[in-house]
């Protein structure tokens, strides 16, 4: 079943701020094996000019998906999660994420398009701290085999 294209442009916002703690950053950095002092030691982070511990570049994956989930898990979209693979991921960091941040997210279904027999669902999430833009993340999910069958081209019809 093809995805419901009416979902393009739909948005969902986080319901409460995502609080970034030193513990979150240290745990995530350790999980990816990142021993950068600025992820673990506040003094090292400050020496680089940051106000507190700095998150690794992909850290926002820990918040972004919760907001996007309310969009992509809506039954009316018609996405069968067992057919989904992660196709593409992009982070634009307008400034580093640091411990002490309280972040809000707004996710938007940016597009749904065919790619052969698959469909590509792209969700863009804007992450802010108050009025300040912090990051823009783009997540492309591949819905395997859900594209509508090609209709016969006019020239091929008998």
């Amino acid at each position: 079943m093809p995805l419901n294209r009416d979902f393009v442009g739909r948005t969902a916002a986080s319901t409460e701020p995502f609080e970034v703690t030193r513990g979150d950053i240290r745990r995530f950095a350790s999980a990816i094996g990142d021993a950068s002092p600025a992820c673990h030691d506040p003094a090292a982070a400050r020496a680089l000019g940051h106000p507190d511990l700095v998150a690794p570049p992909t850290f926002l994956v820990t918040m972004g998906f919760a907001t996007a989930e309310s969009l992509v898990m809506d039954p009316e979209l018609g996405l069968d999660y067992s057919l989904v693979v992660h196709g593409e991921q992009r982070f634009e960091l307008h400034r580093p994420v640091v411990a002490g941040d309280r972040l809000d997210a707004q996710a938007r279904v940016d597009g749904i398009r065919d790619a052969g027999r698959n469909e590509l669902l792209s969700v863009v999430t804007e992450v802010r701290s108050g009025d300040e833009r912090v990051a823009t993340t783009t997540n492309v999910l591949v819905s395997r085999g859900s594209a509508a069958p090609r209709t016969a081209r006019a020239g091929q019809e008998a």
Partner: protein, 139 residues
């Protein structure tokens, strides 16, 4: 830490090899909140046609990114990072797991002291990421 003025287009970043074991996948699941069963349950992974448990794509992405942040000396230097996931990283249930080999090359010098780096991440010689590119702002 490299400075913008010293960096040259075509310059190679120090390459690194990273090992990903089942324990790393469990740790990443906990830290990221992604508990998809194909990343820890071999029975379920095989039932959906995978050869075995596979690493989170985001863990592969984060791991490859370490070549950039280790070189830059500041995880906060990264202003852009994007990848396409081209093939899963299979992690067998043994002590060595999978080895991800990551290389980086300076692709270009941009305005505002920004430098673009192209990354190549392979497992057993096959690319696991495509179009992997980061932009860092250097002092």
């Amino acid at each position: 830490m490299p400075s913008y003025d010293e960096v040259e287009v075509g310059q190679a970043l120090p390459a690194q090899s990273f090992s990903l074991t089942r324990a790393d996948l469990v740790r990443y699941a906990g830290a990221s909140g992604d508990f998809n069963v194909i990343h820890w349950n071999e029975r379920v992974a095989k039932s959906v046609g995978l050869p075995s448990v596979i690493a989170h794509g985001m863990l592969t992405m984060a791991t490859a990114g370490r070549v950039v942040t280790d070189w830059a000396g500041d995880p906060g230097a990264v202003v852009e990072y994007g990848v396409r996931f081209s093939r899963p990283v299979v992690v067998e249930d043994d002590d060595t797991g999978a080895t991800v080999d990551v290389e980086g090359v300076v692709e270009g010098k941009l305005d505002d002291r920004r430098v673009a780096v192209v990354l190549t991440a392979t497992v057993d010689g096959s690319k696991v990421l495509m179009a992997a590119r980061a932009v860092v702002r250097l002092p």
